[in-house]
Assembly symmetry: none
Homo-oligomer: 280 residues x 4
Amino acid sequence: MTDRPELRAKSTRPDPSGYYDFKQQLTIDNLFGRYNINEDSFIYKFSSPLDRISYQADSVKRLDQFMKTIDKHSKIIQAATKVFAKKGFFNARISDIAKEAKVADGTIYLYFNNKFDILISVFEEEIGALVDQVSKLLAEEKDPRKMLAIYATSHLSMMKKNKNLAEVIQIELRQSTKLIKEYRNNKFSEYIDIISTIIKLGQEQGIYRADIKPGIAKRAFFGALDEISRVWTLSLKNNYTVEETISQVLDIFLAGMLIPEQKSLNLLENPGLLRQSGKI
Amino acid sequence: MTDRPELRAKSTRPDPSGYYDFKQQLTIDNLFGRYNINEDSFIYKFSSPLDRISYQADSVKRLDQFMKTIDKHSKIIQAATKVFAKKGFFNARISDIAKEAKVADGTIYLYFNNKFDILISVFEEEIGALVDQVSKLLAEEKDPRKMLAIYATSHLSMMKKNKNLAEVIQIELRQSTKLIKEYRNNKFSEYIDIISTIIKLGQEQGIYRADIKPGIAKRAFFGALDEISRVWTLSLKNNYTVEETISQVLDIFLAGMLIPEQKSLNLLENPGLLRQSGKI
Amino acid sequence: MTDRPELRAKSTRPDPSGYYDFKQQLTIDNLFGRYNINEDSFIYKFSSPLDRISYQADSVKRLDQFMKTIDKHSKIIQAATKVFAKKGFFNARISDIAKEAKVADGTIYLYFNNKFDILISVFEEEIGALVDQVSKLLAEEKDPRKMLAIYATSHLSMMKKNKNLAEVIQIELRQSTKLIKEYRNNKFSEYIDIISTIIKLGQEQGIYRADIKPGIAKRAFFGALDEISRVWTLSLKNNYTVEETISQVLDIFLAGMLIPEQKSLNLLENPGLLRQSGKI
Amino acid sequence: MTDRPELRAKSTRPDPSGYYDFKQQLTIDNLFGRYNINEDSFIYKFSSPLDRISYQADSVKRLDQFMKTIDKHSKIIQAATKVFAKKGFFNARISDIAKEAKVADGTIYLYFNNKFDILISVFEEEIGALVDQVSKLLAEEKDPRKMLAIYATSHLSMMKKNKNLAEVIQIELRQSTKLIKEYRNNKFSEYIDIISTIIKLGQEQGIYRADIKPGIAKRAFFGALDEISRVWTLSLKNNYTVEETISQVLDIFLAGMLIPEQKSLNLLENPGLLRQSGKI
DNA sequence: GATGAATGAGACTTCATTCAT
DNA sequence: CATGAATGAAGTCTCATTCAT
């Protein structure tokens, strides 16, 4: 049996990527009684495919194995995303995920420590993909106003396109952050911090108002987008088109954050912007 | 023997208060398999203390019993709010709630149909209280700008003060609306619609921009407040004060929605406003 | 609180009527775990209305009370018969019986020790009524052939008329005799023994074959009647009329048990016999 | 993953073996509230070991698994028969059955849908075995008089030998037919219909009286046998031997149903007949 | 005597996890 | 590595019985 990642009591801080540092006061034991997590404080290492394979795939056989491992890990993540979205974490059954991924129940435990571990992994990977995507789009843009537009458009069109992901973020973000609470270096923080980075950039360029606190504004902006997509996951008939909605939200936030003289960017007169960034 | 409330298959629409009208496509059965909700469409009547007692408390004995029933129902709701907040719906045990409410496990089932029913009731009652509170505060105010300020302040101070409630809303709003999806006549819609009502009022008075769509803006505004309070329930050290945070969010939204010449209301120069509505 | 009848450990044999003598080997404890009957052997005294009231109702008030007690006891028995028939003993709820009898749940425990006690009482009273009825009918008849006809007709018409009773006997006879097993002096034995008494009488008169063993024949005869009525309680469309069925069964048994030369009694040519005893 | 059997709403009639067709008016919901059988009419498919395994055991491994599945299914059936006999269906605990079968509680649910499903399966399998056995014995016999003797002897000796089976039939036949009422194509009907088939055969041969209605006579005959065996399951000391009892019952029924001149078959003078068929 | 709200023991069932093959 | 049958702990809910009023 390979060295499966495991729960460990507080140890020296390992390589930050892929680790959560649970705080002592989080009473995780109350929340996850059945997972027998009794330590007051511990480091949780979630599963990544790299944990299971040597980095140097120096022989064909090893490379082959590496690909297979990546593949199966990924297949399970995909399946879990789908199942969690459909049923929610607590109503999802390991066997549902196994069936969806077309593997045996037991196989899942070769790649993940437990059900909760799958959730964390799904989360990190999916949000990671969001980060990558929006980062790439933003790399080609310099105008902080357009950057905010790109962020909003990218987020909402992704949520619109990938309902499973949207639901997982909607529900599990709350469930899991309740469990995980303040964990550092995670992908989700990274994703939200893109907003504050854009705002800071705009402030430096004298475009966004200096009295706006990026740390608060990022929450307001993400919250607005999130609530919009929450309603999308629920309702079936929309009273508004996606473009209309994005435009309204952006309009409010830009009008709210721009220095008055900078408001010349009329988004509605620039529908190309939406189309451009929406092409994801 | 009083009539205990129960799940009923599709019936004629009863008095709206206390009833949800579940939509056909909601796939509740997938999510709550164990609750055996198999009807495509049905009316769910959640438990209220009045269900257990004759309305005409015409004798001292009856009045006495009436008070006791109200009292125990309320005690269980309180306990459930606390337990759900601490553990989340799925990790909460009926026995936890019973212990917290200092009643026997079985007693809970005299007042509620099942665990899910408790959740719905907690939700409706708590949100109902929010609606009542903010409605009362708003009744004394005419200025749509100040009204928005009152709403935000009222919401966030309540969330700050009552962490249990905040967590229940955070987590269970997602869980339960996922279950119930878009249900009509519920308190939560009522609560959010207060925002759009304020915006419409402001638009009529020529204060808010006419091109703002209240149906979208209400989501953005509530989402922003909600994400703020989400972070509060999680983080332990706050980088910003409550007043500062409220002020920032309001500032962005007012600047974003007001017609330029109306922006004379400087909220930061009117700290009294915050204090006034925050006194809850 | 009045002297409610209670379970007692083996004591001196009381007045036989109304007492079951449980045998040691009956493992009642296994069957009635929840009734906490742990004694290997005990005397069970079931509830009768006389247990609750002084025999000498010498004052008007006492007589009044006596009547009320009889009345409520009887009302509960009636209700229980109905509910047991409809749902079976184990699926019947005390609250069902209480509702049917229009008394409070707790009231039942003023008249009966426990749920099982109600079953026994129902049984004894209903079978007792059968015994009384058939005894009265038989008292007027001397011909052992006709007596058997009267018994069969009386039994089957009663079962046909009172479906509740039929079901209780069908199902609970098995459940309860399983519990009670071989108890002495009970009404049911009395009822079946009427058959063997008739047969013996016929043998003495040289009408029934002497080689028939009444102890076996009574079982065969009762079993035949019982299976017939079992099917009646189940099936909805009958292929045969009641009279036809009775006639067939009687015909087989009389032909089977009579001494050849005695078979002149043609029951089908004497339909009056059936009508006469059927008038119950 | 194999398909586990499940409750299904009204569907097209499948292969009759192993299916009950529940009638609309059977009020199963009243009796089995907890099994949530709310459909007015449905097909119940009970569990058989074949449901869990591919029919083509084409590899050694599969054959192995097939045998194990058969084995465990059978072990649970055996255990359930024993426990139901000892305690009755309602007093039997799943954990009792599991302990008796030496499996974990949960394992039972890999083979059966629920407790009721176990009962049905026990029933069908045990009665099925009776049918097979008596059919085999009857295949070698042509004389309808002897055939009836074989049936009676086979039944009663089986009941005598296998007390568990006898009790399960005694009690559960009533409980379950009350639940299922008149269901078609079930093994029990098949078993009883053997009697009417024999009678019809005898009538065709001019041995049994033509005026006997096989549909009624089969009930009377089975009822007689059943009541005999009921007493056997209860009483501890027998006043009569098995052979004597069988002989008496057969004597009455043959005398009752045979055309007078055919009564030459003296069963008592042919004790070999009993011994022969009793060799089961 | 009558009531019915409260109790709490205990059953059925589910499902994450393990481990022999 | 993969499988999936087996495990057994634990939760929701029921309901007979009690007891304060």
